[in-house]
């Protein structure tokens, strides 16, 4: 009887070696271990044997059964690994180096810097005010203490329209309306006026790489009780440090602007050399950045606010200049050109 077992074992080994797929393996499993399988049949033979023979044969046939089962399961893993490898091999090695074809939209660079500034101001409780581009002489000049004979009102600077209105030459044109809009809340509830007003401005001048007749400014005001020069400097330093995302040094010099008193030219330490002096700052270490000052009492008065009770500061930022500085745009005319070779590069720039 022992021969049957060794024959069976040898036969199994030979057949197993030839197996290539899990179906064939399943067939073999059934052929040996199934209800009608050869090992099962051999076990059935056991009943015909004596008790002693039974014991010996039983051990052998059991060992065979276990060995067959083990080898089948071994083979099964082996086949599974092979099949997985085949599936992996089927997928090619993708050429990631192929150029990308994506279709990214873009914001106008002015929108990007404007948003960056607005985020800073909103975080400090400023409202963002929109204003028209066509304004009256009163809005642009008269109401902001620019007397009749001031050069800014001359025909060569300002675009006047046939009906006597004009294209706003400065965002200051919105100041009077903003005071009138919020004065009630200031006077009755003590709510300080905090507003920024970005907008497009126009000046009649010949255009070249650094001059445009159409450009963007952003002006801001804060009016309340006891707003001081100290507050103004603190605010400008804090605000500019946020806008430029670094600690900015500011320096104030007297500057003359009819709508403020005192008025200042604000310099910041040069962003390129950090203040050591370089060609960008003409080796002075400082960059003239924005005019600012304490709002002129006449301007507050004209806006219906008593300058004896309230004070405030105002500042102006050249958004166009800021965008050019930030992105290294050399020709100001690119901004209004609609040229996508230039403009499509300005995808989102949230920091």
């Amino acid at each position: 009887m022992g021969d049957i077992i060794s024959e069976l074992s040898a036969k199994f080994e030979t057949e197993l070696d030839k197996i290539k797929s899990s179906e064939e393996l399943e067939n073999i499993r059934v052929a040996y271990l199934g209800k009608k399988g050869s090992v099962t049949a051999a076990m059935k033979e056991m009943g015909k044997l004596s008790a002693e023979e039974k014991k010996e044969f039983g051990q052998k046939v059991n060992a065979l059964k276990n060995a067959v089962a083990d080898k089948i399961s071994e083979k099964k893993e082996e086949l599974a690994a092979l099949e997985l490898q085949k599936e992996i091999d089927k997928v090619p090695d993708f050429d990631i180096s192929l150029p990308s074809k994506f279709n990214q939209g873009s914001f106008h660079p002015i929108t990007l810097v404007q948003r960056q500034c607005e985020t800073v101001f909103k975080s400090m409780g400023f409202t963002v005010e929109d204003y028209s581009e066509v304004v009256t002489d009163y809005e642009c000049f008269e109401s902001v203490n620019i007397p009749k004979y001031h050069p800014a009102r001359d025909m060569q600077d300002t675009y006047y329209l046939e009906n006597g209105q004009l294209l706003k030459s400065q965002t200051t044109a919105a100041q009077n309306a903003i005071y009138k809009k919020y004065r009630k809340d200031l006077i009755e509830n003590g709510k300080p006026i905090k507003a920024i007003f970005p907008g497009r401005c126009f000046r009649n001048e010949a255009t070249d790489a650094s001059h445009e007749n159409t450009f963007f400014q952003m002006e801001g005001v804060m009016v309340g009780k006891d707003i001081s020069i100290s507050n103004l400097i603190y605010f400008m330093k804090t605000m500019l440090s946020e806008v430029f995302r670094r600690d900015i040094k500011v320096r104030l010099r007297p500057g003359f602007f009819p709508f403020v008193e005192p008025g200042f030219e604000l310099d910041i330490n040069c962003l390129i050399c950090g203040g050591k002096g370089c060609p960008s700052c003409k080796h002075s270490g400082w960059l003239e950045l924005c005019p600012c000052g304490m709002i002129h009492p006449n301007v507050l008065k004209e806006g219906g606010i008593d300058p004896e009770k309230y004070t405030g500061f105002a500042f102006g930022l050249g958004l166009t200049r800021l965008a050019m500085m930030k992105y290294g745009i050399k020709d100001i005319r690119d901004l209004n050109s609609g040229n996508l070779n230039s403009l499509a590069q300005f995808t989102d720039d949230e920091e």
Partner: protein
């Protein structure tokens, strides 16, 4: 304006003060100083006074001379010199061997075959004028060998103050005013200006002088004769040169010197030409020749100085050729006047002739200065030429006085305005040093504004704050945040809508944001076959491309589409910008803010592109307002609109904009094969449209039934509208599953969705509604596709 530190030192003792530090402080406290600072005389050394002892012609050159000069060192030095004005006995500037001049070192070396041990120098070579006609002719008494720098004020520091930063400071248009600032900054006293007493001429006859026009504020004049000297002293000429002016002759140089020193422009007339001075305007335009020989068109607004009825000078701008000082002038009439600032500025602009004088007058000069300037002029003149003689009384017509300004304020005001603690002592010292009269008692200050600050610059308390703080130094401020109560802020609805719309258009639809100008581009429009439409214009424009304001962004954007046809096969542009839709009933511009979108494609059909844009807008409206959009056919009325495919965009029945296809002619001019579509939305109307917000509906627990029906129809709206004429409670939605066109007819497979939140529907009740819908459509001529 160039400032000479030597000149300043005439009025302030600057000994022991770091000049560069002082200039830096001046820039922060008073007015912007340009970056370049000039150290005059820095590159000059070893130049001494020498006498030419002999002059021999060079044997082989007509130009060169062989000189022997005595430089005071006890020997004669051989020099080869090419100057035409050499003569024996002449004292000149001599650069010895080893001297430094104009960046070179003088060496002993043969010149044209003869030894030359030094160089005789012109004024230009020494750097004190632009005269290079010959070598310097030194007339001043001094021992030979004297260093030129000991004889003349050659070493100087010159800095330039930005004129723009002096716009509001008429007092700073001369060195004396700058010296006052520097004295305050350096905390040193300001010396008085040396002048003569004019009252001693009171007994002489007055000049016939009359102001006949309100534009002249003050006119002071005096007559002088017997001036023998013709050349200004070297030091005076050096200062003029360093400050950017050319020396001409003694009188011209003196008037210029006075202007640079006090900021008061002066003019010298030949007395024979101005017997009867009248200041007035003329009724009619006329031509007037100024002393530079140029004929200028003066008009009825130009204030003139006249000899009776003959104009002799344009007030505050320039004198006339005919009344100029000439060789045989014996008596001169000296003018020192002030005029209305705006009038001078306008005249200078009109004449396109801005002079040093007009630049000062347009700043509102202090009329108090006119007589002081005459007294100072005469002081300087007598120093130079003691034989000069005053032959008239000071004649002074003072027609317009600025009001005297006195301001009261208390310490609390200063503290509140500055936000820091500035001492009483600093306030008093600063204002006093700047020339203000200060009375201080307790917390109260009473300040008298000096006349030279009272013409327009200082008129209110806030102006005083500037004086105090700029000298205190903004760098010395302690920075403090505000202490204001907290309030929530609300963002403007339209601004916020615009921001979100930009995000959707860029991030979801990959469009590119652009900006375009506010006017219609005449030339560009023409190229694309579009018309410049009637609208309000800029006044007096001479450029048709910058003249008529745009009434729509579409055509300016189509121009931008045309610039980009080579950028990509497909792209989209958008702009949120302003347009003016004519005038409102009050005569003011009807300005609107619009969103304009254009799509360009070389790969898609115009129909596909049109639907792409339509869906884009529908999604935009759905996203921002949670509202459906509907369409209304429009008649085209602009040269850029396609005659057929133009639709109004409506939210809740109200039109917010339009969508259209570019006119085929325009489209072909942009690109022969591309499809171009556009839309324009009024942002105000869009903002005002009521939004629905999200209304949550509990999902039904019961199954719904879908029924697809194919109808023969041209437009889905015909089917949709008819079905919606009746409201069926179980009909949840109407959609389109497919559109099929076989050339002859078009069929639209309409998908109806039935359901009920409370129960499962029976097939019978659904079929009943379906039958009714089919029947209703049939009645409208819309049949099921068989």
């Amino acid at each position: 304006m160039f400032i000479s530190m030597n000149w300043i030192s005439d009025f302030v003792d600057l000994d022991g003060i770091d000049k560069m530090d002082l200039i830096a402080k001046f820039s922060l406290a008073t007015a912007e100083v340009e970056n370049d600072i000039y150290f005059k005389g820095e590159d000059l050394s070893g130049v001494v006074v020498a006498e030419i002892k002999s002059v021999e012609p060079h044997p082989e050159s007509n130009k060169l001379h062989l000189l022997k000069v005595d430089a005071g060192d006890g020997k004669l030095t051989d020099v080869v010199c090419g100057a035409p004005n050499v003569r024996v006995g002449m004292k000149t500037a001599f650069a010895k061997v080893g001297a430094h001049i104009g960046g070179i070192t003088i060496e002993s070396k043969p010149l044209a075959g003869f030894p030359s041990n030094g160089m005789c120098c012109s004024e230009k070579e020494v750097g004190i004028s632009d005269n290079h006609d010959g070598i310097m002719d030194i007339l001043d008494d001094c021992p030979l060998g004297t260093d030129l720098k000991d004889l003349y004020e050659i070493d100087d520091i010159i800095f330039e103050v930005d004129n723009k930063s002096l716009t509001n400071r008429p007092d700073l248009w001369g060195h004396y005013g700058i010296a006052r600032e520097i004295a305050t900054i350096a905390k040193r006293p300001l010396k008085p200006l040396p002048t003569i007493d004019l009252s001693k001429y009171d007994n002489l006859e007055k000049i016939d002088l009359k102001i006949e026009d309100e534009l002249c504020q003050r006119y002071s004049a005096i007559k002088v004769e017997n001036i023998e000297k013709n050349v200004a002293p070297v030091n005076m000429r050096i200062r003029l040169f360093y400050c950017g002016m050319r020396a001409i002759n003694l009188l011209a140089d003196l008037t210029n010197y006075l202007m640079l020193e006090m900021g008061q422009p002066m003019h010298a007339f030949d007395s024979r030409k101005v017997g009867k001075i009248r200041i007035k305007r003329f009724d009619k335009p006329f031509v007037f020749t100024t002393l530079d020989g140029i004929e200028r068109n003066c008009d009825e607004n130009t204030l003139m100085i006249c000899n009776d009825n003959t104009p002799v000078a344009i007030a505050g701008i320039m004198g006339g050729l005919d009344s100029e000082i000439v060789e045989d002038t014996t008596t001169l009439t000296l003018e020192s006047a002030t005029f209305n600032a705006a009038s001078i500025r306008k005249s200078a602009v009109r004449l396109a002739h801005r002079t040093d004088a007009s630049a000062r007058y347009e700043k509102s000069l202090d009329p108090e200065m006119t007589t002081v300037a005459i007294a100072r002029f005469l002081y300087l003149l007598f120093e130079i030429d003691s034989n000069a003689k005053v032959v008239s009384a000071l004649t002074d017509e003072y027609a317009f006085h600025y009001p005297h300004i006195s301001l009261d304020f208390d310490k609390t005001f200063v503290d509140k305005y500055t936000g820091i603690e500035i001492t009483d002592e600093h306030i008093v010292d600063t204002l006093t040093s700047l020339g203000f009269g200060v009375e201080h008692s307790g917390d109260n200050f009473k300040v008298d504004v000096p006349s030279y600050r009272a013409t327009k610059d200082v008129s209110m308390k806030a102006d005083i704050i500037e004086e105090i703080t700029r000298i205190y130094g903004y760098d010395n401020f302690i920075l403090k945040t505000t202490e204001a109560p907290l309030f929530p802020i609300r963002m403007d609805a339209q601004t916020s809508l615009e921001d979100r719309a930009k995000d959707i258009l860029v991030k979801r639809f990959s469009l590119h944001e652009v900006h375009s100008y506010l006017w219609q581009y005449a030339d560009e429009y023409k190229k694309l076959g579009m018309e410049v439409e009637d609208n309000i214009k800029l006044a007096g424009s001479t450029n048709p491309n910058i003249e008529t304001l745009r009434n729509s962004i579409i055509p300016t954007q189509l121009c931008q589409v045309s610039y980009n046809t080579g950028y990509d096969t497909d792209f989209g542009l958008f702009e949120i910008g302003h347009v003016v839709e004519g005038l409102k009933s009050d005569g003011l511009c009807d300005e609107r803010k619009k969103l304009c979108i254009s799509l360009f494609s070389k790969t898609k059909s115009v129909e596909t592109l049109y639907f792409e844009l339509r869906d884009m807008i529908a999604e935009l409206v759905d996203d921002l307002k949670h509202m459906p959009i509907s369409y209304k056919k429009m008649e085209s009325s602009h040269s850029y609109e396609h005659p057929k495919n133009l639709n109004g965009l409506l939210i809740d029945g109200k039109q917010i904009g339009k969508i259209g296809v570019a006119h085929p002619l325009v489209s072909k001019k942009i690109d022969k094969k591309a499809a171009i579509v556009f839309a324009e939305i009024d942002m105000e109307a869009f903002t005002e449209a009521d939004g629905k917000g999200i209304k949550y509906a509990e999902p039904s627990k019961y199954p719904s039934i879908e029924v697809d029906l194919s109808f023969v129809a041209e437009k889905f709206a015909e089917i949709n509208d008819t079905i919606k004429e009746k409201s069926y409670s179980i009909l949840k939605s109407i959609g389109v599953a497919d559109v099929y066109s076989d050339g002859d007819s078009k069929s639209i497979t309409t998908r109806l969705l039935f359901g009920d939140d409370e129960r499962t529907l029976t097939h019978e009740e659904v079929q009943k509604v379906v039958d009714e819908i089919i029947e209703n459509l049939k009645n409208k001529g819309i049949n099921l596709k068989l």
